[in-house]
């Protein structure tokens, strides 16, 4: 893993640590142990999990490769602790059980309905929080939605448009 990746993993650990605090997830101590996770293989996510990520955070035009990368990170993070290692399996099983056949093979309407049916489960909240934390701290996602990331190294926005808005109506601006 190169330096950039290592730094990003650290971001993710921090992000998830905070999200655990924010959502008061009980008993999940995987957040701080990044070692196993840093060895992660980004291709580890199943098609069902990649599909789930897209349904959770559907951004038009975002490539599957981004969802795959995010889910690889999420799986690695969850696998790092016995408390959370089984969460993804549990989610896949629960989804498959909803319609009696593999969830990933259902049509979109049924897929969304099945996710809605399991959203009250504790494991779902944990997975949702983890996917959210990794997804919205991922540089590919940032780029897609128009957030360029840290500005410190570019001297901030003092000379780069912090006040460049030009569409406000003249009578009130």
């Amino acid at each position: 893993m190169n330096d950039k990746q290592t730094t990003r993993r650290r971001f993710i650990v921090a992000a998830l640590t905070f999200s655990a605090v924010a959502t008061n997830m009980p008993g999940i101590s995987w957040l701080k142990s990044s070692e196993a996770w840093a060895k992660a293989d980004d291709d580890s996510a199943s098609p069902a999990m990649i599909r789930l990520a897209r349904l959770l955070f559907p951004h038009a035009g975002m490539p599957d490769s981004t969802y795959r990368a995010v889910m690889g990170d999420v799986l690695a993070a969850l696998a790092a602790s016995p408390d959370s290692a089984g969460l993804v399996d549990a989610a896949e099983k629960a989804l498959d059980a909803r319609r009696g056949r593999p969830w990933v093979e259902l049509g979109e309407v049924d897929q969304v309905a099945a996710v809605a049916e399991i959203q009250g489960e504790a494991f779902f909240a944990a997975i949702l929080g983890a996917v959210r934390g990794v997804f919205y701290n991922h540089p590919q996602v940032w780029e897609h939605i128009g957030y360029p990331g840290s500005s410190k190294e570019f001297g901030g926005y003092k000379h780069r448009g912090f006040d460049d808005i030009d569409w406000l109506p003249g009578d009130v601006s």
Partner: protein, 510 residues
């Protein structure tokens, strides 16, 4: 010139915490030649440690010791939560110092009182605090530069008839001043200001105190208990060092400024046969009347780009709603301020999942945002207490935080979100969401100042009613919350308290 004091040196004032309250009172005392030992639980960062990514910085400087109850979002680092704060620095209004007289008791559950001091008494200290912190629009400092997010707020505010809209009143240097540079508009100031344009005690009060030769900062020094003698006078503070070893620093007087939850915990944890319910708690008020403001936040998708990640989170406010206008259906008022969030926080606050959630992140560049802070009536049931058996990493009783919104708070939030929506819809916003922020960022009460000892913990100087050489120097002393963001008032009160301590020492009554 940094000093080192002997543990046995009982001539020093011990200050617990180096944030807004502790950093200020410590520096003010040191400037007067009074010897100070400041115990700070966190370690000392430099500006080079600051990266422009809030979650990473939370890992570095956030307070993550175990707590039970709703979240409190503060820092454990030299500088405390002034590393994370947004810098909005309005004053409390005259009528808010007389909350009970102005609003009346709202119901059987509320515990409103009047402050035992007036705005007039505090005015000279507000002036000093604004000078010290470099508040924009005061002391010949220009107003803050208008960011895109603020321009949207201003335009929408004007559209719906607001008049008091200003980009002043922020403790961020618009231009270089007092050895600190002007704001570079880096954005997300809550991860810490990488250039030091935003006032934080890490690079203002603490080094200034060190230069006096009357100040020692001990980092990774977690105060756990305050000791007293048979007469009830404070004699010293026990703290755990980085390795967990316990030491006692003797003291002539102690100022506690651990930011409300920790302040209450230290007082309650210092129980003894003389003070079985904890220090300064003879009337049972320590930990009670905890307030954290009516909070609210609004996000709107505007018709065209705003790019609110560019520049300060906080560059302006609307004050029209800060007054007491009971016809709105609630007591007290609120202030409308700008807010910007990183993508992850946008998704978190938009809530849920699916297209309803991504509507906001998809249009990240078009987002505009509002933060609401308003008066929150104190209730005795909103409190910090100690868990009877649970212990944290340091072997201390875990603080239990109980807080619920009063109906007045709910009504105020509803009103504020309605107005926020109107502001953005007046400019053609296509999507809007507004919600509570269930996080204690503005913590107040728990050792409040009261004229009558039955109503509070400290007197008009933040000095314990029960113990003359024990002072509280943070937001814990607020008698009621008022609407304004608290830090300017914390700093003004700390400067005033230092004057009082110095006078008492000179008169040999302390």
């Amino acid at each position: 010139m940094t000093r080192q004091y002997e543990l046995s040196d009982s001539s020093v004032v011990v200050v617990i915490g180096s944030g807004a309250g502790g950093g200020t009172v410590a520096n003010e005392l040191a400037q007067k030649g009074i010897d100070v030992v400041c115990l700070e639980a966190g370690s000392r960062m430099t500006l080079a440690d600051v990266v422009n990514h809030p979650p990473t910085m939370d890992g570095l400087m956030g307070w993550h010791d175990k707590r039970i109850g709703p979240m409190v979002w503060v820092c454990k680092t030299v500088g405390g939560t002034t590393m994370r704060w947004s810098g909005v620095a309005p004053r409390i209004q005259e009528h808010e110092f007389r909350a009970l007289s102005t609003y009346g008791q709202l119901d059987k559950g509320t515990t409103l009182i009047d402050w035992p001091l007036t705005l007039e008494e505090l005015l000279p200290y507000y002036d000093k605090a604004e000078d010290k912190m470099g508040v924009s629009g005061t002391h010949d400092i220009p107003p803050s530069a208008e960011t895109n997010n603020y321009k949207v707020l201003k335009a929408g505010g004007k559209r719906i008839g607001y008049k008091e809209i200003t980009s002043a009143r922020t403790a961020i240097n618009p231009v270089a001043r007092a050895g600190r540079p002007g704001c570079q508009q880096i954005g997300f100031c809550n991860s810490g200001c990488a250039v030091g344009a935003k006032w934080s005690t890490l690079y203002t009060e603490v080094p200034a105190a060190e230069l006096t030769g009357h100040f020692e900062l001990r980092t990774q020094a977690m105060a756990v208990r305050i000791n007293h003698d048979k007469s009830g006078r404070i004699t010293g503070v026990v703290y755990a060092d980085a390795d967990g070893a316990m030491h006692e620093q003797k003291a002539r007087a102690v100022c506690v400024a651990g930011n409300v939850v920790e302040t209450a915990r230290i007082l309650l944890n210092s129980e003894s046969s003389l003070f079985p319910d904890g220090l300064a708690n003879s009337t049972g008020n320590v930990g009670r009347h905890y307030t954290r403001h009516t909070f609210g936040q609004a996000m709107a998708v505007m018709p065209k780009p705003v790019n609110y990640h560019r520049g300060t989170r906080q560059s302006g406010i609307i004050l029209d709603e800060q007054y007491h206008k009971p016809e709105r259906g609630f007591a007290g008022g609120y202030i409308i301020e700008t807010l910007s969030l990183d993508p992850w926080n946008v998704s978190t606050w938009a809530g849920g999942w699916g297209p309803g959630n991504t509507a906001f992140t998809d249009d990240y560049t078009k987002l505009a945002g509002i933060f609401i802070t308003g008066e929150d009536p104190p209730e005795s049931v909103n409190r910090i207490s100690l868990h009877p058996s649970e212990r944290d990493e340091n072997g201390l009783p875990v603080p239990v935080i109980e807080y619920r919104d009063h109906p007045n708070t709910l009504a105020m939030r509803e009103h504020s979100l309605k107005m926020s929506r109107a502001i953005y819809e007046s400019l053609g916003a296509t999507d809007f969401t507004g919600s509570d922020i269930p996080v204690g960022a503005h913590n107040m009460g728990v050792a409040r100042m009261s004229a009558n000892p039955d109503d509070g913990v400290t007197n008009r100087w933040g000095q314990a009613h029960d113990i003359p050489n024990l002072f509280v120097s943070d937001g814990s002393v607020f008698s009621t919350s008022a609407a304004a963001n608290p830090t300017l008032t914390i700093v003004a009160l700390a400067i005033r308290q230092a004057d009082h301590i110095a006078e008492r020492m000179q008169a040999r009554t302390l």
